[in-house]
Symmetry: C2
Subunit: 411 residues, 2 copies
């Protein structure tokens, strides 16, 4: 594999033109789109309009004239096709954690006598915290969390499990769960499933309806490119809508929010997941950002994501200076999401050295160099460049210099 | 009172220059700053910077280089002086409703055997919904809501009450509670208090520390001018920090969010109220918007707010065409917040007719014309103009025309 081969890959990339829809800084290879997606130009334009015209000039009337009031639904319906969800099942609101709390309350409320929430030890910690927090509200009464190794999940599923709560793509290793299979196994035992799609939405084809998923949550600021801290979403299968009871019963989730009646009456369907007034600026920007997915074939997107990661691995394996980096992601592309994880005792310092040279990667404690591969705007040439720079860093061992060592304060 | 007297009031207004810090459309009198504050120019500038430079160019590194990670604290500390709160007790996060949920869980968790949440029948309905939602999670076990007329509150306070949950300024009438007095009465009976300050923060002097308040919440998009759906805030008195237990235990509220440990360990102090990743665009804009309060004397602000409302009432009373409008706000300025409510059977249509003529007022079901008085950017002359136009509408009875009648669909 030489540079000319790599440039050929870019020439043959059916998604190549999508990069032009993003603002990306010069001389940067951005390998952290799984933490914060790059900025779509349409999002930038919308931010100008929503601030200057909608807020600044049209003021309160924009709730109607610019359809702020419908934003949670509008955005939800734009996310739905990326999830394989028919209309009326996805809504945009709050943060992933808050939405996970709602869906946990919902799912547990639908299980008469079961309280056990089963998850995996290395699930995204915040997801476990949310179950712990719910449990602390009334210990043992609402929720009991059990975490096990992911290899034990199928065997552990039995009639005591109320909810199987998992993240599709592991945040460190990128290891992928088989949603369809685990959802089927859970359902066989009468358990409900909640899938956290933070690291898969917008990067992998999803078929939540076909897979029979009960609830799912995910965030707007990773592969959906909705901007820092963009609002999250929640999916609830239509068959459960009549059973939804979630405790964050704010006025936006009321059947008639403007009747200001003293009794809460839930809106129909997923709208009852709404709580307070949404952050309109952030949600509008996410709305515009989702436009880049128009016309994108998710299978092509997945194929490119796998192509990028395979190129990265291949280039690493063929360079003797990179042998110290141990791939901890699954070897087979089909078993991982759109990211790669390499273990190295000096992963933090290597990551800092990369960033200084314009290759923005990420570090995850204790020793993981994380490479996010956002196929909408990354080129194969970017992977080539990144690996060249990484090899130079490893060859010169420059990362051993003090300037790259871990600062005391964070992160 | 004639136009020249009114112009004199503007000439003598110590806050007159503040209007220049806002973008306000021409030929509009904006009397709905209590629903959505007008746009500070600094907020507009910040929105440009946070999108183009921080997100667009600096990408993920902005969490450190532009201090996104500290935004909830930074914004909280800017709000704190407006609440009369010493440092370390206010943080910006989520929505008012979500924060009310957290503070309710906290306060109830601190009461061993009491479950009763006392509130008033015409509290902002969303606040009541939140208590209802919490109760539904485990009926009778966590929370029991009782609502009564506000005249009965003091008499009803006894040793069965766990939490007194009230809104400082009534969202319809503008009627003001005496926070200090009710907090003292509640404490005498061992109850804790939660105050919703949505309609008072940024409009009235507040002294939460002096008044001994336990918890408070409020929103960023009314008198704080933080933009549509701006994030909310939560106040917790320092003496309670060791007792805080709230169930929305997201990763941002963890002691070491980047250690990614599987066990939730709350951050110290108010930081443990944080849950998921905040909407950075919206929160940055609120941060910039709060700059307009620099150098503002809250007593002067309150004096102007009362002056504006007194002028409005006086002009109404001296105009025979306005006698049909019944003031339902307290007559005495000291007993109401920064808004006026007038009852009229055709309030909706009158409001629509006002809006068409550039006077942006608000309607609240069933029959209230609501006039918000944001003293940072309203002039006495605006009140004069608004009343002139209102009088013309009432005199001609143009509001009876079909075009102003209530649409079927909303609101």
């Amino acid at each position: 594999m030489n540079l000319e081969n790599v440039l050929d890959l870019d020439r043959g990339d059916p998604l190549a033109a999508k990069r032009g829809e993003f603002a990306l800084p010069d001389n940067v290879v951005y390998l952290d789109g799984n933490s914060l997606g790059a900025m779509p130009l349409a999002a930038q334009q919308r931010s100008l309009h929503v601030v200057e015209q909608q807020w600044g000039r049209d003021l309160i009337q924009s709730w109607n004239s610019h359809d702020w009031i419908d934003l949670p639904i509008t955005v939800g319906e734009k996310i739905a096709p990326l999830l394989g969800a028919a209309r009326g099942q996805v809504i945009c609101c709050d943060s992933t954690s808050v939405n996970l709390f709602k869906s946990l309350c919902c799912a547990l409320g639908m299980q008469k006598d079961r309280r056990l929430v089963l998850s995996q030890t290395d699930n995204f910690p915040a997801d476990l915290y949310i179950a712990q927090g719910l449990n602390n509200l009334s210990p043992g009464e609402i929720c009991k969390l059990e975490v096990i190794d992911d290899s034990e999940i199928e065997a552990r599923l039995d009639e005591t499990v109320a909810v199987l709560m998992l993240t599709h793509v592991n945040f460190r290793s990128g290891k992928l769960h088989d949603i369809r299979r685990l959802t089927e196994r859970a359902h066989e035992k009468g358990a409900l499933v909640i899938w956290d799609l933070a690291h898969s939405t917008g990067a992998l084809p999803l078929e939540l309806d076909d897979w029979g998923v009960d609830f799912a949550v995910g965030c707007g600021y990773k592969y959906l490119n909705g901007g820092p801290g963009a609002p999250a979403f929640i999916y609830a299968a239509e068959r459960h809508h009549a059973s939804i009871r979630q405790p964050l019963t704010g006025w936006m989730g009321h059947q008639k929010p403007f009747s200001f009646s003293g009794e809460y009456q839930p809106a129909p369907g997923v709208q009852q997941f709404l709580c307070g007034t949404p952050p309109v600026l952030s949600m509008s920007v996410l709305d515009a950002a989702l436009g880049v997915f128009e016309g994108v074939d998710m299978d092509e997107l997945r194929a490119k994501s796998m192509g990028l990661s395979e190129l990265f691995i291949q280039l690493c394996q063929s360079n003797k200076h990179l042998r110290e980096l141990i791939l901890v992601s699954p070897q087979n592309s089909h078993d991982r999401g759109s990211q790669l994880a390499f273990a190295h005792p000096s992963a933090y310092a290597i990551c800092q050295a990369l960033i200084e040279r314009g290759v923005i990667a990420d570090f995850r404690a204790p020793d993981i160099l994380r490479i996010g591969l956002a196929p909408l705007y990354l080129r194969y040439k970017d992977i080539w460049d990144a690996v060249q720079i990484l090899a130079e860093i490893m060859m010169t061992r420059c990362y051993l210099q003090d300037q790259y060592s871990r600062p005391q304060k964070v992160t």
